[in-house]
Symmetry: C5
Subunit: 97 residues, 5 copies
């Protein structure tokens, strides 16, 4: 899994049957201090009620797919946790405000 | 999943049984403003009727495979949504014309 | 899936049971004009009778595995189509000679 | 699998049902001498009781998922071994102190 | 699959149940001439009796997992062939001594 930050959302009225009731969030990878990498955001489904700006745990691949509870879901990325704090090399590196 | 732009198509008369009725589209990854990255395009199957030039949501890996409805499909990338708009850091970053 | 070019082959007399009757081809990724990237070639099984020098469609991961028809195949890359032409941004970018 | 070093941990009170009893560790990839790469750490579940600072073997993707014993686990990275030593090009390159 | 060279081994007395009887080898990716890339080695299980210094075929992801014969194996990389020769662009590029 990776640390991610919810940076936006995507709207698609025409989409795969199994994504119809799902909110699509834009996520960027972040480091242990909560700083996002300068990378193209990707699209994840949200399984825990994450909001924009929150730091989250993102599962990828088949693990994201089965985590949705629908084994035939097209989801290949899913938000599976909302982070409270990150500890890195013996110290708190980030804490939710 | 990733944001992609349909930039072309591939014709292969000789192909795997399970791809015979499928259109193969060329896709390039795009960012939250709809701008494509300068990367080699990849090949995706289309599950939602996407057209050239459209911004789409692309599923990858086993999630793309099962999304086709054929668990033994060779597809490892599938277009699963057609984007209407993208919201990034609190503002609309891209909207379908 | 990706566009690939068959650039060689690999011989391994000692190999996994499920690869014993399979030809192993060396493939390099190619762009929409058929030009190969300067990347280390990878090894793919051939499901469509591809020959050296041909431009092909390559499936990866579990999709390649199930495409072989053997769900316990060690194959993680499989040639699933032989390309006739590629269309990129409204024009034919490559055509088989 | 990859060689990894446990460099921290993540706390998420709100998380996917199947992660509720699982400790989430931060891991960085390491080379054969035990030196970590300057890369963003990722999040792994711990299946062997690894502690911070230890060099471990990390499984990724569906292999990490099934290794948890829960085929519907959202885990896509799992610590599956604690390293004692690494041998590289004929010599011991790293040994646990 | 990729071409790899066995460059070492890893010892882990404490490891996942399904890895207990398995030797863990360190592998680096190699090109068609057998030269290894300057990349961090990864850890693979050996299914064909490969020795240090040998050039091998490595399967990755779920294909490596099922190739072990244990569908719940944590293995995400497996040596599935020992190479005798590699042919690249019409000529023998590497041959086992």
């Amino acid at each position: 899994m990776i640390i991610g930050k919810v940076v936006g959302s995507a709207v698609a009225t025409l989409k795969h049957e199994q994504l119809k009731t799902t909110k699509l969030l834009l996520v960027q990878r972040a480091d242990a201090t909560g700083v996002v990498a300068d990378e193209t955001p990707f699209v994840a489904v949200d399984l825990v009620g994450a909001g924009e700006g929150e730091l989250v745990v993102v599962s990828q691949g088949s693990s994201a797919r089965v985590a949705t509870g629908e084994s035939s879901s097209p989801a290949d990325a899913a938000i599976v946790g909302i982070l409270d704090s990150l500890r890195f090399e013996g110290a708190i590196a980030w804490r939710k405000e």
